[in-house]
Amino acid sequence: MDESAIIRRCLGGDSASFQQIVNNHTPHLMAAAMTVLGNRQDAEDVCQETFLQAFHHLSSFNGDRNLRAWLYTILYRRCLNAVKKRKKFTGVLGRLKTESMPLMSSGDSRPGDLEVLPAELYRALSPKERTVLSLWINEGYKAVEIAAILGCPSGTARYYLFTARKKLRALMEKTHDSLPKH
């Protein structure tokens, strides 16, 4: 069943159909949320909130638009809110080590072939840059599509993408001497 049919069924009151949307998009949203927020628990919370918000506002979804891009738009705003909340929280507690929340906290079920860079990546890149990077790498979105998700001009998205790629390159060069240098 295609997504527009699922959406129609959900709007008709069949909330169980929404499971298919959740199952289809959870891995993508979780990957982006974990890249932005840096830990699995927060990412799960944000994803749940995203799907709930999407379910309640499904009637406002423009069928011409890509559903995943719409979900990413909601997710992005939720992630920024979560980051703001965390900043407030850490501020109140006298800058409780944010560094103690590495991207790969213990308990994250990840295949073992991933390297240590993400924790550094998490520190080096801003939440916006991490979002842009995740969308660019995982979805192959161009600056225009990323800008639509971020709600900013495409030039701004390009700049975020440029800085994110530059920082990523610097980090990769720092950790991997084997990478070709230009």
Partner: protein, 156 residues
């Protein structure tokens, strides 16, 4: 290389990020060196979390489903909007003195002066009453605002 750095510097000092992005994009599209530098997509794939790394979405769906069901139950249970009862109670409490005042003002005034005997039962009169063949004196009583009339007799 100097040109690349100059462009980057100019982009850095520009105020709007959209401008920065456009200038850099324009330069990168023409500069093979910068393009190669930024071509990290394939290598970076190893470092960012990919959708394939997320093993299960069951937990998310379980929570979302529970929230949706709870939400619909709440909606069914709640016939009034949140705080509606309190709002109505507050409105009633505020309106009560006004209603009381209106009733007090519009109520017909009662005369505290007793009505004269004659006017009490203008439509009802006893000229003469006899009991057991003897004339007796009737007494008619009607309570104020009542339709019941009580008559008793006194021996003369």
């Amino acid at each position: 290389m100097i040109a690349c750095r100059s462009i980057e510097f100019v982009a850095h000092i520009l105020p709007g990020q959209a401008w920065k992005g456009n200038i850099i994009e324009h330069h990168v599209s023409r500069c093979a060196s910068c393009r190669a530098k930024l071509d990290v997509q394939d290598e970076a794939r190893r470092y960012v979390i990919k959708p394939d790394d997320i093993t299960s979405s069951d937990k998310i769906w379980a929570t979302v489903r529970a929230e949706i069901q709870e939400g619909s139950r709440r909606q069914m249970r709640r016939s009034l909007p949140a705080g509606g009862v309190w709002k109505i109670a507050a409105c009633l409490a505020a309106a009560a003195p006004l209603v009381f005042f209106v009733i007090l003002v519009t109520r017909p005034a009662r005369s505290i002066v007793p009505r004269p005997k004659g006017s009490m039962i203008e439509d009802f009169r006893l000229d003469s009453v006899e009991a057991w063949g003897k004339p007796v004196s009737p007494v008619i009583y009607q309570a104020r605002d009542s339709q019941i009339r009580i008559i008793w007799i006194k021996q003369l």
